[in-house]
Amino acid sequence: MEAFTSLASGLSVAIQPMNLLFALIGVLLGTAVGVLPGIGPALTVALLLPITFKLDPAGSIIMFAGIYYGGMYGGSTTAILINTPGESASMATALEGNLMAKAGRGGPALATSAIGSFVAGTIATLGLTLLAPYLVEVAVSFGPEDYFALMVVAFVTVSATFGDSPVRGLTSLFIGLLLGLIGIDILSGQSRLSFGVPELYDNVEVTTLAVGLFAVGEALYVASRRHIHEEKLEAVRGSLWMTKEDWKRSWKPWLRGTAFGFPIGALPAGGAEIPTFLSYATEKRLTKHPDEFGKGAIEGVAGPEAANNASAAGTLVPLLTLGLPTSATAAMMLAGFQQYGLNPGPLLFAEQPALVWGLIASLFIANAMLLVLNLPLVGLWVKLLAIPQPWLYAGILVFATMGTIAANPSPVELIMLTIFGVLGFLMRRFDFPIAPVVVGLILGPIAESQLRRALSISLGDPMVLLQSPISATLLGIAVIALIAPFALKNLGRFKAVED
């Protein structure tokens, strides 16, 4: 029960008035930005990162926790009310949620997603609390070759295993890895792929990439298809509150969704999309009201939304204990840590226990704040949704460019933002997944340094990767995860559920 002692000390950090204030600001900002259509949690964190530049690490990371969960809540509100999921993890929620909103049951849909998110978030954060110390212990025994192998597993699962096309997913990943090469190589002091441009010597900023791909790319894409696609905002009609019947139909899906979300998120198994669709399929099968599915069944909102939040908290397990981001949002969180020279992993637990456990405790607090704030404030969030589309995207671009030059005041940074925006647009148009680029950029250099450390210990013998049993096993898993999608072409069948 050492975990609870640590958590208690973390709570004493999180509950300091300033930190509570940071959590509150984070929650409000996160929800406000996350609710805007087309803005998922990853972009929410990326856009709001500059705001935390000047805070101290503890305050900033606690604010992050709020932004992270806030962005998730905001995203589900958008999914339900205008059926524009900001990210694939909200797609399942949007299916039944938007139908409920159309049928005048938007209030209960928002309520079951908010309460379900709270239940799932709390259970999953508890899971994180219990699991983290064990994983840290395991991770301490990892050598550099084991870390490298672990990152290979993450690369494969994030890009190839669960996407539509392994080739396109891996292409995205390698573009990210290529971007990760740009800059001065720390170990040898030589510049790579910089072409004499001084701004390229200090690496590609993860925030510039994420904001370019997600914000600029999305704006270009939506603008280019405006003539064929229109969004419609559903008004929240009728009661906000769930009836007794709604509660009865919601609590089991919440728990089942959590059971899907947390383990899949906690394993480096990539994304919240799979658990949300698994949960959707399960609820559809188990429901006592099968006739309502396709017309707005509350189970179809409660389950996936819980799965989504549980998986989001789950991704924090590999992120905090191993320094391994397995989603675009987790990659942005890692960027936030790196901004303070902090490297998540077992060492961080040993060196900065107050900070790590303060963060975990803040997750509980942020979650509770969201539950209390979100339902009463839903009217305000809906008003944000009603911002006319031209102003909304114009505002997003203004904020995106400002954040980029505030972090790095140089026109070259803006040129990079624009290039990444065009890249994001093309990737959307040709259906390449975006998240592997971000994960590749941030995890590539870390994987490289582990690989080179392993190779320099073994005097350049690559067999070291197979001689360590941990590393050999992990590489074996990576190979299976790479081959599986080719072997099981119908792994994408979860996506067909919606038809």
Binding site: P50, I51, F53, K54, T84, D164, V167, R168, L170, T171, F174, I175, L177, L178, L181, D185, L187, S188, Q190, R192, L193, V216, A219, L220, V222, A223, S224, R225, R226, H227, I228, H229, Q389, P390, W391, Y393, A394, L397, V398, F399, T401, M402, I405, A406, A407, P411, L414, I415, L417, T418, F425, R429, F430, D431, G444, E448, L455, S456, L459, G460
Partner: protein
């Protein structure tokens, strides 16, 4: 993925056998792979035992080459996902706004004028027909952002004549 209901008429790209855009993507990947490889050859190895800074570029170059092949095969078979028709005007408007902002910052014009232009062009790209009003709104927002970022958070934003007035 998308919940758009595509109007059949708007699908201007018939499913030809060879996807030209896909072939271009494959060729671009090949060019990128070549660039990484060429850049790698200029690196110096410091340790006699291992390839040091060359390891990762080699992995990336080989990976990109294989993926270029994979994408190329897919394009030749024409099995890329279907694409909707494209409206170029909004794309040019948004990129034009970004270009204006970049140029203004590069020549020391500060970011406010550029931001106002970006706001107005983006808004126009999304169908608004009130360029001057939007220019004004963009200016107000940029003042607000300047005060938030520059004064409250003490981040430095590129200043020009307008910024010095505040």
């Amino acid at each position: 993925m998308s919940n758009a209901q595509p109007v059949p008429m708007s699908r201007v790209q018939p499913r030809t056998h060879i996807d030209v855009a896909g072939v271009v993507i494959a060729l671009l990947l090949l060019v990128l792979a070549g660039m990484v490889w060429w850049d790698m050859t200029k690196l110096q190895i410091l340790s006699p035992y291992d390839l040091g800074p060359k390891v990762m570029p080699i992995v990336v170059a080989i990976g990109l080459t294989l993926l270029a092949l994979g994408n190329g095969v897919g394009a030749l078979q024409g099995n890329l996902p279907a694409r909707d028709s494209l409206d170029w005007k909004p794309i040019i408007l948004i990129l034009g706004g970004l270009a204006a902002l970049i140029v203004l910052i590069a020549i020391g014009g500060g970011f406010m004028i550029g931001t106002a232009i970006l706001f107005a062009t983006t808004s126009a790209a999304f169908g608004r027909r009130a360029f001057l009003t939007d220019l004004l709104i963009g200016a107000v927002i940029s003042v607000f952002v300047y005060l938030l970022f520059g004064k409250l958070l003490t981040l430095s934003l590129p200043a020009g004549p307008l910024e010095h007035l505040l």
